[in-house]
């Protein structure tokens, strides 16, 4: 029976809670209701209200409480109902959680789960990809899984990590992506990218839902004889610069792809990493396919035009290949 991306996260959380009595969940409507997306459905029945803590509507309070519990050696997993609301708990994340270890050597093991991304007609406040605010903040780790396997393996690693982790779950993948998962326990290491598809002609470096767009584009391009390598970053911070640069050395051409808006997106950090490290291997401009610099629009035709898709990737990839 294939496991969905959502179910994979659920299983990962469940296993970690079974394994370690110090792991607990905190957030809005996660208990009796099981969470806005039902990721934690059934948890309160099994683990009890002590370990599945429903809170008032207070994102800063939730993150702050997770920090406090983390400082005490517990392993809180906080849920933001939508990633868009993480900006309401922003100061606690970027100033409190991120800086404790460096400043006074205090560990803040804590995971903030944040359902992110568009494609579900959520409009400007239920569709955002706020990962770069956190990639910009030393002291945090930032994870954006694309597959059910990685979602499960990485949420487990995140729970076990001794530093604060922001875990972005792409809402459009929740029920769309399924795969058979190993029966035995596994984790996926934080900070390691994955070669999602091997190729020699050009590298598409991406993460999250866009991995699937890249793979779809790669299929079409393969039929045209263009062999695309797809790198799924999996973790944005710490960034697996080695895997990125290895791929560039191999293909010499780079297309950076993200669902996030254009300016100051992940493409920038990748581009500077590549030019400062493997510039001489580049045979063409580094190009990017991204959402444009607007809020995420609501109406289906606008949202469709907003989101990167295989057609846009293919067009740019062809150009790059010809270059």
């Amino acid at each position: 029976m294939p496991t969905t991306y959502l179910e994979a996260i659920r299983e990962g959380l469940w296993e970690e809670m079974e394994r370690d009595p110090d792991v607990f969940l905190i957030g809005e409507d996660i208990g009796v209701y099981g969470g806005a997306f039902k990721v934690t459905a059934g948890f309160i029945e099994h683990f009890g209200a002590r370990r599945v803590v429903d809170t008032p509507i207070s994102e800063s309070g939730i993150v702050g409480a997770a920090i406090g519990a983390g400082l005490m050696g517990l392993r809180p997993v906080a849920e933001m109902q939508f990633a868009d609301f993480i900006s309401c708990g922003f100061d606690q994340i970027v100033n409190f959680a991120a800086k404790c270890r460096y400043r006074w050597n205090a560990a803040v093991p804590m995971v903030v789960r944040a359902p992110s991304g568009g494609g579900i007609h959520g409009g400007p406040f239920h569709s955002q990809n706020p990962e770069m605010w956190f990639v910009k903040t030393p002291g945090l780790k930032v994870i954006c899984p694309a597959t059910a396997y990685d979602a499960k393996g990485l949420i487990k690693s995140a729970v076990r990590d001794n530093d604060p982790v922001i875990f972005f779950e792409h809402k459009a993948l929740y029920r769309r992506i399924k795969e058979d998962l190993p029966a035995e326990e596994f984790t996926v290491p934080i900070g390691k990218a994955r070669v999602a598809r091997q190729g020699r002609d050009l590298s598409i470096i991406t993460y999250g839902a866009m991995v699937w767009v890249a793979l779809e584009a790669a299929e079409t391009l393969a039929a045209e004889g263009i062999e695309v390598e797809v790198i799924d970053l999996r973790t944005l911070l710490p960034l697996d610069r080695d895997t990125v640069c290895e791929s560039v050395k191999k293909t010499a051409k780079v297309l950076l792809l993200h669902e996030d808006t254009r300016t100051a997106g992940m493409a920038g950090e990748l581009a500077i990493t590549i030019t400062e490290t493997v510039f001489e291997h580049l045979d063409a401009p580094i190009v990017r396919v991204t959402a444009p610099d607007t809020p995420v629009p609501f109406s289906p035709p606008l949202e469709e035009a907003f989101l990167p898709n295989a057609a846009k990737v293919i067009e740019k990839a062809r150009w790059l290949h010809r270059y």
Binding site: E28, D29, V32, Y33, A36, D54, T55, P56, I57, S58, E59, S60, G61, F82, D84, F85, S87, C88, I120, H121, G122, G123, P124, F125, H126, P292, D293, T294, P295, P297, F298, S299, P300, P301, L302, E304, A305, F306
Partner: protein, 341 residues
């Protein structure tokens, strides 16, 4: 042939007052009915038909709150409705068709498809509605700024700041209310306490019994009103607005009500005890107002039925109009992030 008395006799005054009351009741009923019918169409028809996508939140059972309050808004006043205050838009004159177009993501909606559902506003003169963003209570500090501007300009206009019980848990609510009370800004706070915030009952949001218990923390008068009695809301709002308008600072009205639906169109609200729905169904603000109108002889069943029929016709026409609006052209995706684009 008689000269109209300059001073009405006792009984005349009574009947004038009664006529005024009847007229007010009829206006209230009209707007409540329009809100009910509009939201029913949205939630129970267009959403299920797939003509409306995304999140849909309605104020079924809570219509008395936006209606009883917003009727006090003067043209220069500014309103910041929550996601359950649809009637505010009607009262401020937004054409109904535009609202349906908004929900359907069409051109002609208040955001021309850029945003959906209650995420709409219009700062035109005489309308003055600030669009919510999703982050709950984010409009509360903004209401303070609106009120500051009204005061800055030397007007006696007021800001109407709407929110739910659960929204009072947010830091923004506290910062906004605190600032408005410290600066004595003309804000009327209208809390719809519908006893749930998504799946969370009131006791999961606050350890005090009433939202109004929070007034003293800000040195602010706070009053509890039956939020399912539109005339009670109307009267209480009159006091609140008079207070704010005369420069005495903010005033909090807690309107006790109940959310007669799930949190949103996809939520079956199984976490709400059925008995609560039954109990509150008996207090439906529309039914209660109708009863009162009949009891006072302000109208009869036929008259009320005619009103509802008229409302249904308006809604039919508006839906038809909206459904003919085109979707936005993808070419319009980019402009308007900044001025002059």
């Amino acid at each position: 042939m008689s000269i109209a008395p300059t001073c009405p006799s006792q009984s005349q005054r009574g009947s004038d007052e009664s006529a005024a009351e009847a007229g007010l009741a009829r206006r209230c009923l009209y707007y409540m009915s329009l809100m009910r019918e509009t939201e029913d169409r949205i939630e129970r028809k267009l959403y299920r038909q797939g003509k409306i996508l995304g999140g849909v939140y309605v104020g079924r059972g809570q219509e008395a709150i936006p209606v009883g309050s917003a009727l006090h808004a003067l043209p220069a006043d500014v309103l910041l409705p929550s996601h359950r205050d649809m009637a505010v838009f009607f009262i401020r004159g937004i054409p109904l068709g535009r609202i349906f177009a908004q929900y359907m993501g069409r051109m002609g909606g208040l955001t021309n498809g850029r945003d959906g559902n209650m995420h709409m506003g219009d700062m035109s003169a005489g309308i003055g509605i600030v669009s919510i963003i999703s982050a709950l209570a984010a409009t509360v500090p903004v209401a303070a700024g609106v009120a500051l501007a009204l005061q800055y300009r030397g007007t006696n206009a007021v800001a109407f700041s709407y929110f739910g019980d659960g929204s009072t848990s947010r830091g923004d609510w506290h910062e906004g209310v605190n600032m408005a009370t410290v600066l004595k800004l003309p804000v009327v706070y209208l809390c719809n306490n519908n006893q749930y915030a998504y799946s969370t009952p009131l006791s999961g949001q606050m350890a005090c019994a009433n939202v109004a218990d929070r007034g003293p923390a800000y040195g602010m008068p706070a009053e509890i009103v039956d939020g399912n009695d539109v005339l009670a809301v109307y009267e209480a709002t009159a006091r609140a607005v008079a207070h704010a308008r005369s420069g005495l600072g903010p005033y909090l009205l807690e309107c006790k009500t109940f959310r007669m639906t799930g949190h949103s169109a996809h939520d079956a609200a199984e976490y709400v005890p059925a008995a609560l729905f039954e109990q509150w169904a008996k207090r439906d603000p529309i039914v209660r107002l109708e009863q009162k109108m009949i009891d006072h002889g302000w109208d009869d069943r036929a008259g009320l039925d005619a009103l509802h029929a008229q409302v249904r016709q308006e809604v039919d026409a508006a839906v038809a109009w909206a459904d003919e609006r085109p979707y936005p052209d993808p070419a319009t995706l980019l402009g308007g992030v900044y001025d002059g684009e």
